[in-house]
């Protein structure tokens, strides 16, 4: 049997870090970087660096054989190569939790399973980001900053925490971990998911029928949903209006879940107090977008939870070893459901 062949493709500047981590985690495999071909034990797989024997091998008969591909926003020719080699190509690992962009690609082979990254140090980052946003809101940090600019000593009465509901829209891995992290702070916690789910310390709601009732409880709504055909444009004028007056939105999921113009209209009308947005319909957020300079919007450049190379590669390597032994793995994407 041929050696295991793995190809790594990422447009990010740290492609070499990914390659080196995969080669170290799976020393028995041939690991290459797309668009270079996989070469045996190669640690310098970029075409310009490969040279010599590796390059000649890459042009040989087995050069297109790929067992597993690790991808992020892959080019169509890589997907076409994987489709042509099925069933040798056994799985596509998406180098992120969100697979919406990948599933939308027409060239994605229908027969090759897609596996998404599960928590690999991303949950704790999400906990940090959401905790920071919730506490900034609860402690009225923006008002204190405004008072400081005017050198005004203005203590404000403490807000009633028992009335400061935090709503987690989406109760997957991240929503569950965020709920567990917020519970010790004493906020009333609410959660909404597609299907009913019981979580400690969280009053949960499920399905379309209970969405508006859920929204009516929240002082801060935290969006943690995947982007699917069912969630796109979910937070429109009607749904955002269901939040109580003075509520805030935190979006750490996907930009297309929120209807930008509706959010801005509700901020301008004073129905919503603030929005903390880490994700946008177009990224980078275009310089002319009104979010940048809106006084009630905090913009961060999609940094709430970054994919961490070592943790991600360890997870993928463990899954590849299971698949090679014929065992099932978690995180396989249900394409009907969209995540």
């Amino acid at each position: 049997m041929d050696a295991l062949r793995i190809v790594v493709q990422t447009p990010s500047a740290n492609a070499h870090d990914w390659h080196a981590a995969v080669a170290a985690a799976l020393p028995e495999a041939d690991v290459g970087v797309w668009p270079a071909m996989p070469r045996r034990g190669g640690l310098s797989p970029q075409p310009s660096a490969a040279g010599g024997r590796g390059s000649r091998e890459a042009a040989g008969e087995g050069s297109l054989a790929i067992d597993y591909a690790l991808v992020w926003k892959p080019p169509a020719d890589l997907l076409a190569a994987l489709a042509a080699q099925h069933p040798r190509s056994k799985a596509i690992f998406n180098l992120g939790a969100g697979v919406d962009a990948l599933l939308a690609m027409p060239a994605l082979p229908a027969d090759v399973p897609v596996v998404r990254l599960e928590d690999t140090g991303m949950a704790v980052q999400m906990v940090e980001y959401v905790t920071l946003a919730v506490l900034t809101e609860f402690r009225e940090q923006a008002r204190y900053e405004e008072a400081q600019r005017a050198a005004r000593w203005e203590p404000r009465p403490r807000r009633r925490k028992a009335e400061f509901g935090i709503g987690l829209l989406g109760l997957g891995v991240l929503g569950t971990v965020v709920a567990a992290a917020l519970a010790p702070l004493g906020f009333p916690l609410f959660g909404w998911g597609r299907t009913k789910k019981a979580l400690p310390h969280v009053h949960t709601y499920a399905g379309d029928a209970e969405l508006l009732e859920f929204l009516a409880q929240e002082h801060v709504l935290v969006c943690l949903l995947p982007s699917t055909s069912a969630t796109r444009d979910l937070l429109n004028h009607q749904r955002l209006s269901a939040l109580p007056r003075g509520a805030s939105l935190v979006n750490v999921a996907r930009g297309d879940i929120v209807v930008d113009a509706d959010l801005i209209a509700l901020l301008d009308a004073g129905h919503l107090a603030h929005a903390t947005l880490d994700v946008f319909r177009a990224e980078p957020l275009p310089p002319a977008h009104p979010f940048w300079h809106h006084p009630r919007v905090t913009v961060t450049p999609h940094v709430s939870a970054m994919t961490l190379v070592d943790e991600s590669v360890a997870q993928i390597a463990a899954k590849i070893r299971r698949l090679e032994r014929g065992l099932p793995v978690t995180g396989v994407v249900d394409r009907t459901r969209g995540y």
Copy 2:
């Protein structure tokens, strides 16, 4: 035996809330507000509101008898009255955790025990404030705000958490609770106290001999010490210089622990990156103080942990009941130690 007589004295605007809460928690007692005299079962003890029988009683023989006083920055005549009545006056309850101002009053009777407030909903507030300050620093929120003002999409590499030490200067009730709250976020935690103390997840140091070594570990130093003759001016140029370059200070304890001019000099020199200050040598912070407009200083008006009436009164009422049964209580101030 006379009914239990309790007097409540607070300069705050919510004196009536305090009185009502004490009267409700100890219905068997006469509760009054200083400078009005205690009157039997009075719920409207202000001189103008008391009237009728209560007022006549207040002028009677037993009118100065006080078993327990609940005070905040008390006037000298109240302290003199308590001194004169000892041993009938059995304890002075300070309506805050910090007793430095009370202990500094010459009129404070030497024989009447002073009991400070222990955690009454203050610890969770401190957890909120410190968590917010630490995450703001770790997540480089100030840089993202600056980028937003310029409409610049500039994701920054994630800081290495393993190298982001958080130092808790003071390991009393608050320091202990703050450590427990920060532990799940994964920061390396260090703690310093007067005497050696073991805490889970915290590398602890003790005494003057280990202070500089402790300071050298911290990316964020959180001051949670009481103000005593041993801690006043503790954070001077020498000690603040022992923090690594780029470190930040959070002071939620007392303003006189920090030497303002030394802190500003180290911020200006770039040795320290930021200071988040909730307490000051003079409060309100004078309008001309350089902290207000310093670009690397965040000022909040002593709101990190506010005394909560209901929780505080429940604690004091429970202690009064124990004292009346001859049982010991916690939180009795050691005047030699200063807290």
